[in-house]
Structures are given as C-alpha cells and as structure tokens.
C-alpha cells in the first residue's frame, strides 16, 4: 500500500433545493409530508399536452445563490432536456441546464485547519427534481410529490485534495445557502444532496485519474468517510494492477463502503437538446442588481468584521457567525450592551448551551437579545457579579422575565452603598481581633479571610471592589 504516493482529486456536485412555494415548472406545492401524489398537477405527471412554465421565484433564488457564491450570472441561459427512462421521471426527460447554465464560475472560501481555502466553482445550474421510488421486493411504488421541486446544482472544480476538505467545503456551501435563506441544507431530508467525484493519481502526475461518482451520502461525516473509503479503494485497485472503471457508486453508511450502481455497458446517452417548450432565460441587469442589494452579509465576511469591530478572537467570531440568526442575535446583544466581549462570552457559554440542551433555535430563545444585553450591561456596570448573573440567566430562561425585574425579585442586587459596606467591615474587624493582629504583623494572606467574612454577611451582594477598598483602608 502506497497511500502516501498518491493524491486524491475531488470535485463536488451539490444539489440544493430552492425553497419556493410552488414547483419550478408547475403550480403544485413543494410542501413535504402531504398525501401520496397529492402535490401533483397534470404537468408534474407529464401528462400529454402539458407544458412547463418557469417559476420566477426559483430563478430569483438561483440568482441569489449565484451571487452569494461569487458566480457570474448569465444574461442568457437555456433549459435542455436530459433524456432517460426511469419510473420517477415522468416525461422521460429531466429539464435541466446543459451548455448554458444560469451561473458560471464563482468560488467558495472557508477555513480548513485555520487556513483560508478557496475552492473555485465551474457552474451552478437549475433543474427539476425527480419523484421518489420506494422498492418493495417484487414491485416498486412511485410518488411524484417531489417531481418538479426546483434544484440548483452547484458544481465545484476538481480542486479538493482531502476528504476533510470536501466535507468542510460542503459545510461552507450549506452555511451560505442557509444564510441567504434559499435552502435549509438538510442532507438527511434531502433538501441538499452531495455527489462526490473522486479520482486518484500518483503525486506529481498532471493527468487526472478516472473519476468515480459517489452518490447517496446524507451527512457531512459520511462525505468524509465515503471519500476516504473510495480513495483507499481506488489506490488498492491500482496497486493491485487493475484499472478504475468510470462509474457511479453508492455509499452504504452502515457498512462504510461504496458499491457499484450500474455496470458500464449500460452507459447512458442523455441526448441533451434545448427544450423547445421553454424560451431561454433572459435576465436584465436591474433585476440582478436588486437581488444583489438584498443579499445579506455572508458568514466569512461577517466573521472578519466581528473580529475587527468587536475585537473577537477568530474562533469566537466563527462560532458566532455559524448561523445567520445567531450572528444577528449576537450583534444586537453587542450593540445594545456596549460590551461585545462579555456579550460573546455569555452567548457562547450560557446561551448556546441552553439552546443546545433544550433543542431550541436562537430565533425562539426565551432569552431575547435585548434581555441578554441588559444582563451584560448589569455585569459590566458591576450591579451584579458574574456568579449572580448565572443565577439570573437561569431565571430568565425559565420565566422570560427581564433581568432587572428578576434581580429585585431574587434580592440579588449588589450592595454598592459604601456606608452600608463600611458598617459590615467594621463589625468583621471588631469581631476578629486575632486575625487583625496577624494581618497587621505582616501576614498578608489573612486578607482573604476578611473578604470572605464580609461577603458571607452580605450574602455575596457587597460590591467586591468596595469591600477590598474599605478593608484595606480600615486594616491599615
């Protein structure tokens, strides 16, 4: 086995569902979980004489995605028919884009082991999804509810070299899709699907090896594992003196193996040709520009801005920009509280833990951004200690009440009145003559004892700074 002599070449085809209300070419709903074949119009079923009519919403989302991926949006693109027979493909062809896609070029940037990586894209094109077949041994059942759901296929160049990089790339794409709100990027439910093209070659060789397409991968972890397995398999095959067959293989996650899907003699001839039922998509600059204006700040740029504007560490900024909603929440807390650092710490430590433990999305957090901002302010001003704040936060989570109300209710307000603290300090000094003597004879360590006593009597509510200051004065 000469694994280290080889280099893997990986390219990804990511199919992202564009979240429209109706299908790409028909008025049927895209909602899932409805009755069998109930989201099917005669157009979806490919009935005789029916025609596709393009959904403007789908085009808008495709443009939006293309812009977020830094693609060039083509003023003219063409739908073609990709022809093959399959029971879940109602017309005997899939309407897709072939030689003139809506988006060309583009790139995705992401961090891999602390280093910024840039993967170039070849294209992104629109197409319709097929229906769903379920296999029952001696028969197969077909549901066309999915048939015609709009997809954008994002095709990367063969630019990735490791399974980890491929997984990170797809996570970055998913993050962008979610940020701009075109797709929820759910691999398990199939709203995002990743096909991986994998080949290997000896290091230093320029010519690409024969590529194998991996399908049926439904998690980021499996992208990594499937590619890892496939690289090893290909190297083993070559080292064993055999050649790689260009084919499609399915990944079986339970066995962690890839299996050949169809044999080579059934090579497809898709007979692409421009669909005469649909005119070329022609886009005007004004529309593209207006979509561009509505595009939110993208995760990487936002993370960089958080680092400069709020002085956050790179890692913290990345965590806070993982999801758009989280980053929006953070920004509100940071701005309203006036202390972005405490805000960041509190979100990453307390808020995110509670959200995760209770499986709540940040949009639905019982602690709102303004409530958290108020808490951060109270900490910042020294009204409550960090320890108390944790108690208050727990109350905020369960009661949804404002921190100021809760502090009063719990009697947790810090004692900042120096005359009140001075009285306690005087009492403590008076009642502990021995320790006073020790301290005055030079045993500095005893100071902590006095602080502890004062805090104990004040039930922790005395402002620590005042306590320190007064003790030092009075023990002199």
């Amino acid at each position: 086995m000469a694994y280290s002599d080889y280099e893997a070449v990986i390219g990804l085809e990511i199919h992202a569902q564009l979240f429209t209300k109706s299908k790409i070419f028909s008025t049927a709903s895209t909602e899932f979980g409805e009755g069998d074949n109930s989201q099917v119009t005669p157009v979806c079923a490919g009935m005789p004489g029916t025609l596709p009519v393009l959904n403007k919403g789908a085009v808008e989302l495709a443009i939006k995605t293309g812009l977020a991926l830094h693609c060039e949006i083509n003023k003219k693109s063409v739908f073609s028919r990709k022809q093959y027979f399959y029971p879940d493909l109602p017309k005997g062809y899939q309407i897709s884009q072939y030689d003139l896609p809506i988006c060309s070029g583009g790139y995705v940037e992401f961090y891999l082991n602390g280093k910024l990586r840039k993967v170039n894209l070849e294209r992104a094109h629109m197409e319709e999804d097929a229906g769903k077949s379920t296999h029952h041994g001696d028969y197969t059942l077909v549901n066309l509810n999915r048939a015609g759901v709009p997809l954008l296929e994002i095709v990367s160049g063969p630019e990735m070299r490791s399974p980890e990089e491929a997984a990170e790339y797809s996570r970055a794409v998913r993050q962008i899709l979610r940020y701009i709100g075109v797709c929820d990027g759910n691999l398990e439910e199939g709203s995002m699907r990743c096909d991986c093209n994998v080949s290997v070659r000896k290091k230093g060789v320029e010519k690409l090896g024969t590529k194998v397409e991996l399908k049926n991968i439904n998690s980021f972890k499996f992208i990594e594992k499937a590619i890892e397995y496939e690289i090893q398999r290909q190297i083993d095959t070559i080292e064993g003196g055999e050649i790689i067959v260009q084919e499609t293989r399915l990944y079986d996650s339970t066995k962690n193996k890839t299996f050949s899907m169809r044999s080579k003699e059934e090579a497809q001839d898709y007979r692409y040709f421009p669909d005469p039922d649909l005119l070329p998509i022609t886009l005007d600059t004004a529309w593209i520009e207006s979509i561009k204006k509505g595009l939110p700040e993208l995760p990487l740029a936002k993370s960089q801005r958080f680092q400069t504007d709020y002085g956050l560490a790179e890692l913290d900024a990345n965590v806070l920009t993982q999801e758009k909603e989280m980053s929006d929440y953070y920004e509100e807390v940071a701005k309203k509280s006036g202390n972005p650092k405490i805000a960041a710490n509190w979100m990453m430590a307390e808020l995110m833990r509670e959200l995760k433990d209770n499986k709540v999305d940040v949009e639905n957090s019982p602690v709102t951004a303004s409530a958290l901002a108020e808490l951060v302010q109270l900490i910042d001003k020294g009204t409550i200690s960090g320890k108390m704040a944790k108690q208050v936060f727990a109350e905020m989570w369960t009661t949804k009440d404002k921190p100021s109300n809760l502090i009063q209710k719990l009697g947790l307000e810090q004692i900042t009145d120096e005359s009140a603290i001075a009285k306690i300090v005087d009492d403590v000094i008076a009642q502990n003559a021995d320790q006073v003597a020790q301290y005055r004879s030079g045993k500095d360590k005893v100071f902590g004892f006095f602080v502890g006593q004062v805090m104990k009597i004040s039930k922790g509510q005395a402002n620590p700074d005042s306590v320190n200051k007064l003790l030092k004065e009075k023990l002199k």
């Binding site: 429209t20 209300k21 099917v40 005669p42 403007k56 421009p274």
Partner: protein, 93 residues
Amino acid sequence: MLNKETVLKVAKLARLNISEQEAEEYQTQLAKVLENFQKLTEVKTDGIEPLVTPSPIDFYMRADEVSQTVTAEEIIKCAPDAKGSLYKVPPVV
C-alpha cells in the same frame, strides 16, 4: 451511418422492442431519409445561430404561487396499475 445494428441500438435507447426484420425495414426507409438530408452539407452554416423558437416571443415567468386543480385520485385514476395513490411498476432494482 444508419445500419441495422445502429437501428437496433437506437431502438433500445428509445425503449422500442423491434424485431430484426423490422430493424431491416426501418434501416432501408430511414437510410433514404438520411440520404435526402445529405444535401444539407452543401449549406454553409458557420456562425449561424440554431433556431429553436421560431417567432419573436418575450420571455415569460409565472409568479411563485401554488394552485392545485386536480386531486391525487384524478391523477392516479389514469394509471394502468397503482397501489393506493402510488404508481405501481415492476421492481426497479
């Protein structure tokens, strides 16, 4: 060119079960059609944009709105074989 083997191959691609004899028949007839087509080679088409939609029609998109005018029952009623509201076909795998 279009020989009998090609006809059989193309018929397979088009999912048409044809006999050897039919293939021969089609081959003879279609060869004549293709021969007739050969005279197009004399037409210069360099730089000519292919024509698909033959009249000036403005690009049209529909608004993203849902409208369901038929029921699953009406759709599935047309099918030669079904189970519940699903199409039933011989095993694919």
